[in-house]
């Protein structure tokens, strides 16, 4: 018999591991604006190179497909060749022995469908679609297109106020985003090629820590235009629109239903994540522009909306998605069962609950569920669990939020679907009954849970918080005539609200009614992130300005520092720390400990200045409104 060896079967498998990490980082840093067919080609060639060489479809078919696809990428293929490629890909997909072959071909076929317009452009116009072209990753992936390299360079220079001004050029909520942004800017950071994406949010938090938003002067408002803009909703989207419209010289009235401004970043995000005084800094900064009149506790109904549309030159509807979704199970009427957004909303106005000695169960797996459970811990609950019907890895909450909740003593009870709420004789809830689940087939990109053959579970609970999503209170606006689907308002890409002719006719309005209405933020997209809402506000302001016949440009008042050569040495990524769980779970104070100056400087030093090096220097390489 051959002797055995502890050496790996392939001498290089372990070494490849190190390079695989590089390969993954290369993929993670895929530049925005890539030709999707070029990406398909790298994917396909990777598949071809992974063939073991056994089967004809994979071994001989994939290289032939790659040759054809390269031809297509080079804009030299005709429609017939694309069809031949499709036919061969179907054969490879259907006759390959293993996933290396069939998944390569499957990806290509799906890619050809997904990017049909690009294929068409290559074949008939012999060029890429106009939208293809690389741009600066952080700036591109920030929905508000904040000039990230610029403010990082300003932070690096120690000009924190300049950094805040640079951020505010596109986003008047630097503090909110410094603390709670989901930071899509980091997802394709080119620095990933060397080590890891920059901690952009942490740098922003650091800048706002050292130059408070209400202390940094805002740009001077442009001469008054005499136009009036109504903003319905004082959350991040509405206030952003108000800020930019005011800077452009328009007069703005903000109508807010609640007691205070801030929307979900006040009434949805707990103070330990985003202390209220820090939110007030952003709001004070915004209002410092002047020309903004705030009307709190002024809910807008259909009649009022019609009035606004008639009285103002433009209206921006940004009412958010603020009511909690319910659960269709028995016992939700029990005492002790709350909607997550109601609980958080009350806290937003300073009404803190006392859960001392209580057992709390939170239903859901999103960020709101995490906010609820961590709030319950701080409200003195004896025992807090999150009950979720999928797995931890399927939760939509940010991983860091989940980790923090666990650290604070929250138990994650996964793969349990709520079945009923058990009440005692007094009608108080005493337990959550759940049906065990197993993770099953992937549906629409996510593995779906299916019933598992296991006994029902009983989770004792005095308080049950339901955090399974939010709804939009769209009815009054639909009555006014705005078109909506599933409660979400419809708008074009410029956020011009789409009107429903039948609804207009029903209330006797003319066909042009609502032509000056814009709509954006959560109420148009469904519950999303603060930065997306902010981006919508900015888009709305710009397009309202345009509708009003202007083309105002805004100067942020700071210049972009010149780029330094890249530091190519690899570093670890500096993470923003939280206070120790044993300490932070006892209070509602801010949990994060911002970066030190040394940490911030090291982090800024990793920035590759993609605005200067590479495609950022080209025409079309920037996503900037200026």
């Amino acid at each position: 018999m051959t002797r055995l060896s502890i050496a790996p079967a392939s001498a290089d498998d372990a070494r490849i591991g190190g390079f695989l990490d590089r390969q993954k980082r290369r993929v993670d840093a895929m530049p925005p604006g890539m030709c999707p067919l070029a990406q398909q080609l790298t994917l396909l060639e990777e598949g071809a190179l992974q063939t073991c060489g056994k089967c004809v479809p994979c071994r001989d078919g994939l290289p032939q497909l790659a040759g054809m696809l390269r031809h297509l990428v080079d804009c030299q293929a005709d429609a017939a060749e694309v069809e031949r490629m499709r036919a061969l890909a179907e054969m490879v997909r259907d006759t390959s022995d293993c996933a290396i072959g069939y998944e390569s071909a499957n990806a290509l076929l799906e890619g050809l469908d997904a990017f049909a317009a690009e294929v068409e452009s290559h074949v008939s116009k012999h060029e890429c679609q106009r939208s293809v072209g690389q741009s600066v990753p952080c700036e591109t992936f920030c929905p508000a297109h904040v000039n990230v390299p610029a403010y990082i360079a300003l932070v690096a220079q120690g000009d924190y106020a300049g950094a805040v001004q640079m951020i505010r050029k596109d986003n008047p909520f630097p503090t909110a985003c410094g603390l709670v942004c989901e930071h899509p800017c980091e997802q394709r950071c080119r620095r990933t090629l060397i080590d890891a994406p920059l901690n952009i949010r942490g740098i922003k938090e650091f800048a706002c820590e050292h130059a408070r938003a209400d202390q940094v002067p805002v740009p001077k408002r442009l001469p008054a235009t005499g136009r009036r803009v109504a903003v319905v909703g004082g959350g991040p989207s509405g206030l952003t629109c108000a800020y930019f419209a005011a800077l452009m010289g328009h007069d703005v009235d903000v109508f807010e239903g609640r007691k205070q401004l801030g929307g979900m970043i006040r009434y949805g995000i707990p103070a330990y994540r985003f202390p209220r005084e820090r939110l007030d800094e952003d709001i004070r900064g915004i209002l410092a522009v002047g020309g903004i009149t705030v009307h709190t506790e002024s809910p807008v109904d259909a009649e009022r909306m019609a009035q606004l549309s008639a009285d103002y030159d433009a209206v921006y509807v940004a009412i958010g998605a603020q009511t909690g979704k319910g659960l269709r199970i028995d016992g939700t009427d029990a005492e002790g069962v709350f909607s997550a957004v109601d609980l958080l909303g009350r806290i937003g106005d300073g009404d803190y609950p006392d859960f001392t000695g209580k057992k709390v169960a939170v239903i859901g797996g999103g960020n709101v569920a995490m906010d609820c459970c961590r709030t319950a811990v701080r409200a003195g609950a004896e025992e807090v669990s999150v009950v979720y019907r999928r797995r931890i890895s399927d939760m939509t909450a940010l991983p860091a939020e989940i980790e923090s909740a666990i650290a604070e003593g929250v138990e994650m009870i996964t793969l349990q679907a709520p079945a009923a709420i058990e009440k005692d004789e007094q009608g108080r809830c005493c337990a959550l009954l759940t049906n065990p689940q197993m993770i099953g087939p992937v549906k629409r990109g996510r593995p779906a849970p299916v019933a598992a053959d296991k006994p029902q579970m009983r989770i004792p609970a005095d308080i049950i918080l339901i955090a399974v999503g939010q709804n939009i209170v769209s009815a009054p606006f639909e009555e006014f005539g705005m078109a909506a689907e599933w409660g979400e308002f419809k708008a074009d890409e410029q956020l011009h609200a789409q009107m429903d002719a039948e609804a207009l006719a029903a209330r006797g309005a003319d066909a042009f009614a609502g032509a000056n209405v814009f709509v954006g933020g959560d109420c148009q997209t469904g519950p999303a992130s603060a930065i997306k809402a902010i981006a919508a506000g900015k888009v709305a302001a710009r397009n309202i300005d345009h509708m009003l016949g202007f083309n105002h440009t805004l100067d942020c008042g700071v210049t972009v520092p010149p780029a330094q050569p890249n530091d190519r040495a690899a570093y670890g990524r500096v993470e923003v720390l939280e206070r120790p769980a044993r300490e932070r779970k006892n209070d509602f104070d801010a949990v994060e400990v911002p970066m030190s100056t040394e940490e911030a400087m090291q982090e800024c030093g990793r920035c590759l200045r993609c605005d200067h090096f590479g495609a950022g220097a080209c025409e079309g390489g920037r996503i900037q409104y200026a």
């Binding site: 063939t51 073991c52 056994k54 004809v56 071994r59 001989d60 054969m91 259907d94 006759t95």
Partner: protein
């Protein structure tokens, strides 16, 4: 027994049988290329794909086991198309230009790839043809490997590894460049290759051949099934006969050899038959000169009969010995010992069993 249908025909199949085996037993033809019974069933060429009711994608008949109630279609439009494409891909990589499109290939006319291509309807490659001029390995006295013609079906690998159990012929280069690492290069004699040629018999194309394969064309020959003349295993083989010459040997599926042959059986079983130094006339030694002189049969046999009769007469049959050849046939030996016992009256009959 499992009940299945193939092309609508209800069949009984045995547990553990593949779709291909069940089809072949029922006389239903499914084209194959990389499959070689008991040697290699790795399902690499996908020429034998068939559609199975309830399965999204076709499956290779050679590696798919039958299950009860299975409904198989061997010639749907889709599988016919896929088979064509598989063969198309193969011939595109087959180094056609290196043999002037089959013209100079020794297997032309006996090539399974040619036959399958014709069957599935591929007459020329539709994909770009690789221009190949890889070096041919031909230092082994009997075997030659031309990588340009190799379609990497790995039948030879199965023959060497699974059947001959020798593990010397392997795949090399791997991945899209997969080829066969045949031990026939300049260091052939330093390898453990036994030159048995089971690989060459397994090769469907002209890539791996016995060098003598070029000396005849398939249609010039006929075969004669016989038993190997070397050791006692009794391998069954087919002598390939062209005119009055044996030009090659192929292994037959005999009970003791299971389709295998060794280097002696395959390459040492016919040269001697054709050898120019065969004795073709009786030779009688001239007692004066000690030299052999040709004689006619009558003279020679008379001499033999007379001499043995004399010895029998003068010294008795026990003065004569007769040793039979344990290489010759039973019939020869039977008559030989009968001659010794009956005509020579000799008890000293033996054969070379001991030596």
């Amino acid at each position: 027994m499992l009940n299945i249908t193939i092309d609508g025909r209800a069949l009984e199949a045995r547990e553990g049988q593949t779709v291909l085996e069940a089809a072949r037993e029922a006389g239903i033809h499914i084209p194959t290329l990389c499959y070689l019974a008991e040697r290699s069933a790795i399902g690499s060429c996908r020429v034998c794909v068939v559609d199975v009711e309830g399965q999204d994608a076709p499956v290779p008949a050679c590696t798919t086991r039958v299950v009860d109630g299975m409904q198989v279609q061997t010639a749907t439009e889709r599988v016919l198309k896929y088979r064509r494409m598989a063969v198309d891909l193969l011939i595109s990589n087959h180094g056609l230009d290196s043999t002037d499109y089959c013209f100079s290939c020794v297997k032309n006319g006996a090539c399974e790839l040619q036959a399958v291509a014709r069957e599935v309807g591929v007459s020329h490659p539709t994909f770009p043809v690789a221009q190949m001029r890889k070096p041919v390995l031909d230092s082994n006295p009997f075997l030659r490997f031309d990588p340009n013609l190799c379609i990497a079906c790995q039948r030879c690998v199965g023959a060497c590894n699974n059947a001959a159990g020798n593990h010397v012929l392997q795949t090399g280069k791997r991945g899209v460049r997969t080829t066969i690492r045949a031990p026939f290069g300049p260091n052939w004699d330093a390898t453990i290759c036994e030159s048995c040629g089971n690989c060459a018999q397994a090769c469907p194309t002209g890539a791996l051949v016995e060098k003598r394969r070029g000396l005849y064309r398939e249609w010039d020959t006929h075969t004669v099934r016989t038993t190997c003349p070397h050791c006692g295993v009794g391998c069954q083989l087919d002598l390939v006969v062209k005119g009055d010459q044996i030009v090659d040997v192929q292994a037959a599926d005999g009970p003791s050899n299971d389709g295998l042959l060794c280097v002696k059986g395959r390459s040492g079983s016919f040269d001697f038959v054709n050898s120019p130094d065969r004795i073709t006339t009786p030779l009688v030694k001239n007692p004066e000169t000690g030299e052999f002189e040709p004689a006619d049969w009558d003279t020679a046999l008379d001499l033999v009969a007379r001499k043995f009769a004399e010895l029998k007469e003068e010294h008795g049959g026990e003065s004569i010995a007769a040793f039979a050849c344990s290489r010759s046939t039973n019939e020869d030996i039977y008559l030989f010992q009968k001659m010794a016992r009956c005509a020579f009256d000799s008890p000293n009959v033996d054969n070379c069993a001991r030596v």
